[in-house]
């Protein structure tokens, strides 16, 4: 089979200069086609954007708890598009924060963190390949991402400032300069989204090709570890969904700058067209953000429960079902947008159905820890918390899926609570779990446990303190994206809840400090990590630390599925994928 030939040619890697690993000095870090270095580039960039986007969230929380009060200490340092002379946030500045926080966290933090970092780092290592199928395209994908990041940040410094139309950029607010007052910033936003989309597409093409053609001998599709499956399926979703967003973003640029009227009714355009295009991308995007998290978590739960993943095939089929159904539920963002009401009803049925595969996954996660031998480590704690938080986020989703309930809670803080439980409690918790779990392989050193536990408990407690009360705010009728809830009589009574959320958010901000210190300090000074610190079965743990260029000295051969833990009759409680089970042991079919 050609797959094994390709894999061979990559693993028996002859040193040469085209990968950049022979380059002197800083170029080694800047232009390097090694998938591990590209993962590092994505990781550092995503962490930078995480701190930046997180800081914007703190500013928003300050304003919501104490509307019109100057931000202490740093208020005066913020740019004048955001704050007034006293250092208090102005309404248009608040809209900018809302927009850029959402945009940056989705496109420049969670996507690169889950897909850019772990897609790049794990796919070749887990399938037994020497690198990605297209190493140069891979590096191009990172630099397109970096370029798009520079463009989106540059919108803060152009005349008119950054856009304030929300990360959803609903037209015609976003597409008519007279309405948004920030045509340049909005155009840059669209261009940044477009280039970010190119980065995602080049990455996705690479992941799909690598998974299909470069698996080691014996690594059948149903022997692939779940993170590889999840990122493979995510890449397919990216290829199908991203072009729609890119086209829509281009249409806004044309409307803003070249006189077209795609979304402007006075020019026979249709405002709802934007919403259909945006959410046709936007709903698969939701699963793009959670599928890799599900895959990573499944593996971490299995490793630390010392048990095979419960229902491996059900997990895979559930992810495939989510991927397919994800394309026919976009209308649930539009029940009350002016879309045909019968269509709303139809979309609510498909939306209820897509909850089923998520439920299947949850039950299988519980099955995985059931009768396990659970070892609590920092990555395990994050993975365990992921399941709990995902359940809360899933259950609150049922409220919005029901059309009459959405008639009330649409665009309230209930939805803000819901998607933060899925995106932070879900995706970010999984990202933290994965960063800790693969840190020994990425850096060759162990992280500091104490700092890790402090980070986990602070994140877990303050996350819930920040976002749980938002359910109550939403059911209490508080609109999202308003700069000052106290202008409404019915919301004044809810103000103490806003203060609680803000206290939680400040704690969540502080929680990142032990994380950042731990990562920076431990990657240089941590104790040297053994090759397989977690006694794990998948191929990346069979290579030595630091991982040699080309990954595998000899292409591994795979003999069985990925999660053979606690096989009765074996001395060790794990059986790596490249080790044959002794003749007297029968592995259970999975």
């Amino acid at each position: 089979m050609s797959a094994s030939v390709t894999a061979d040619s990559h693993s028996t890697h002859v040193p040469h200069d085209s990968h950049g690993h022979g380059k002197p000095g800083i170029m080694h870090y800047l232009w390097n086609t090694d998938h591990k270095m590209i993962a590092m580039q994505f990781l550092l960039s995503a962490c930078f954007f995480l701190l930046f986007g997180g800081a914007m969230a703190l500013a928003m929380r300050w304003q919501l708890a104490f509307p019109g009060h100057s931000i202490p200490v740093i208020g005066h340092l913020l740019p004048h598009g955001i704050v007034n002379d006293e250092g208090a946030i102005i309404p248009s500045g608040y809209n900018v924060l809302v927009t850029m926080h959402g945009t940056i966290l989705v496109f420049w933090v969670v996507m690169p963190l889950l897909i850019g970092v772990f897609g790049n780092f794990l796919i070749p290592l887990k399938i037994g390949a020497g690198d990605m199928a297209f190493p140069a395209l891979n590096e191009l994908s990172y630099w397109l991402f970096a370029l798009s990041g520079v463009i989106v940040l540059s919108s803060f410094w152009v005349p008119g400032g950054a856009p304030g139309t929300g990360w959803t950029a609903y037209a015609p607010l976003s597409s008519v300069a007279a309405y948004n007052q920030t045509p340049i910033g909005q155009s840059l936003w669209c261009i940044a989204i477009f280039i970010n989309g190119l980065s995602s597409l080049t990455g996705a093409v690479n992941y799909i090709t690598t998974v299909i053609t470069m698996r080691a001998p014996g690594m059948t599709m149903f022997r692939m570890p779940l993170p590889v499956w999840s990122i493979f399926l995510t890449a397919i979703l990216l290829i199908l969904a991203i072009p729609v967003l890119s086209a829509a973003a281009a249409m806004i640029v044309f409307d803003l700058n070249f006189g077209t009227t795609f979304f402007r009714p006075s020019g026979y355009g249709q405002p709802l067209l934007w919403q259909h295009l945006f959410w046709f991308f936007g709903h698969p995007e939701v699963y793009i953000l959670i599928l890799p998290a599900m895959g990573l978590t499944s593996e971490i739960l299995a490793v630390f429960s010392r048990k095979p993943v419960f229902g491996y095939k059900a997990m895979v089929w559930a992810m495939i079902a989510i991927g397919l159904l994800g394309f026919i539920v976009w209308g649930h963002h539009m029940y009350v947008s002016g879309m045909n009401l019968t269509l709303s009803a139809a979309f609510s049925v498909s939306t209820m159905v897509i909850a089923v595969p998520s439920a299947i996954k949850t039950f299988n996660w519980m099955g995985t820890i059931w009768r396990g031998s659970i070892h609590y480590t920092v990555p395990m704690a994050f993975a365990v918390a992921f399941v709990s938080m995902f359940v809360i986020g899933g259950l609150s989703g049922i409220f919005m899926a029901s059309t009459p309930v959405d008639l009330f809670v649409h665009h309230t803080y209930f939805i803000v609570a819901h998607f933060h439980y899925v995106l932070f409690g879900g995706s970010m918790f999984a990202a933290f779990a994965a960063v800790y779990f693969w840190f020994p392989k990425m850096s060759g050193r162990m992280f500091n446990n104490t700092l890790g536990w402090i980070h986990f408990w602070m994140t877990f407690v303050f996350f819930n303190l920040t976002f749980f009360p938002m359910h109550n705010l939403g059911l209490g009728g508080m609109m999202r994206r308003i700069a000052d809830p106290t202008v409404y009589d019915c919301l004044k009574q809810l103000q103490p809840l806003n203060v609680i959320c803000t206290i939680g958010a400040m704690g969540l901000g502080l929680a990142t400090i032990p994380f950042v210190i731990n990562m920076l300090w431990s990657s240089r000074n941590g104790p040297k990590a053994p090759a397989n610190p977690w006694n794990s079965t998948t191929l990346e743990w069979t290579v030595s630390n630091p991982i040699p260029h080309g990954n595998f000295a000899v292409t591994p051969t795979v003999y069985h599925g990925p999660y053979e833990y606690s096989v009765p009759g074996l001395v060790r409680d794990f059986l790596p994928q490249n080790e044959k089970a002794p003749a007297h042991i029968t592995l259970e079919a999975h």
Partner: protein, 310 residues
């Protein structure tokens, strides 16, 4: 395995920490519920509900609330029990199992049935809420713009002057026909005044970007889309009181403060408020006869008003 503190002690400690944190978070939750209770006298923290359709929305919120609460307690309870019960202990190996197909079938089928039942039940209510507005409804044209609201009430004829969304301009904000004598009859104001007990049919318009008609106490959210008339929103107030109409779709700098007062008053008070205004307008256009919209125009108004197609 990297040596940490004795794994047994650590596991036990972590497991109990999970439990304590759970209790801690549950107490925050109950404190919140108490806070919300003070506000409106119900465990859900909902604002008071003052429309008939709102009661239907509340009924399904309550069903889903208790359903999800039950699922939450069962799944998280089982999960936390497993997390504590199956923590690592010396000499107790994990159970070797790759899964169970019968279980997979059960936990695929059961949620499917529950979710489909919920979808069907929800959409029945959705359908009931969106039946065509009753004949005796008071029709009000609600026009939104950056950053405020204007209402247009029928004049003395009892009928709104016809409008065309394509005619909406800064000079003609309601898109009415200036040549039509009925236009001058319409009563225009910035407060939404409605009689209790009578169905009120609102025609939602926007002059610029997408706004939304959101009143938490009515349990109604509906976007106002420029270039269109959204004609399927109607409601019937069950009690008098003062509320606020809010824009709940990010519409620009002044979005956060785009609100309008709502006064729900008795039928008598409503007439006391509306009739003098109608008469004043009628007096202004005297002596020309009060022209009701011609049948053709009335028909075209109906055509442009998107009806609920359920």
């Amino acid at each position: 395995m990297i040596k940490t503190i004795s794994p047994d002690i650590l596991n036990k400690r972590t497991a109990s920490l999970f439990l304590t944190t759970g209790v801690f978070l549950a107490s925050i939750l109950s404190a919140e519920v108490a806070c919300a209770e003070e506000r409106s006298g119900n465990v859900y923290g909902l604002p008071p509900c003052v429309t008939t359709t709102g009661l239907q929305v509340d009924s399904i919120i309550k069903i889903i609330f208790w359903l999800t609460a039950l699922v939450f307690v069962l799944t998280q309870g089982t999960y936390i029990y497993y997390l504590i019960r199956y923590r690592r202990r010396e000499g107790v190996p994990a159970h070797y199992s790759h899964g169970n197909n019968t279980l997979e079938i059960i936990w695929t089928t059961a949620p499917t049935i529950i979710f489909l039942a919920l979808a069907i039940y929800s959409n029945r209510i959705w359908e009931q809420i969106h039946v065509t507005a009753p004949e005796n409804s008071l029709t009000i044209d609600v026009s939104s713009y950056q950053f405020g609201w204007q209402m247009r009430y029928p004049g003395i004829s009892g009928k709104l002057a016809p409008m065309d969304v394509r005619k909406i301009t800064p000079q003609n904000p309601f898109g009415t026909d200036p040549e039509n004598p009925a236009t001058a009859q319409d009563v225009i104001c910035t407060d939404l005044v409605i009689p209790v007990g009578r169905p009120v049919h609102v025609l939602l318009h926007s002059r610029d970007v997408i706004h939304s008609f959101y009143v938490p106490e009515f349990r109604i959210y509906q976007d106002c889309v420029p270039g269109r008339t959204i004609g399927w929103v109607w409601f019937q107030a069950t009690q008098t009181g003062d509320f606020q109409l809010a824009c709940n779709q990010l519409c620009g700098t002044g979005h956060y403060n785009m609100k309008a007062p709502i006064h729900i008053v008795s039928e008598a008070e409503f007439q006391k408020w509306l009739t003098p205004r109608q008469q004043k307008n009628a007096a202004l256009v005297q002596p020309s006869p009060i022209a009701a919209p011609s049948p053709a125009k009335a028909a075209s108004l109906t055509d442009r008003t998107e009806k609920n197609t359920l």
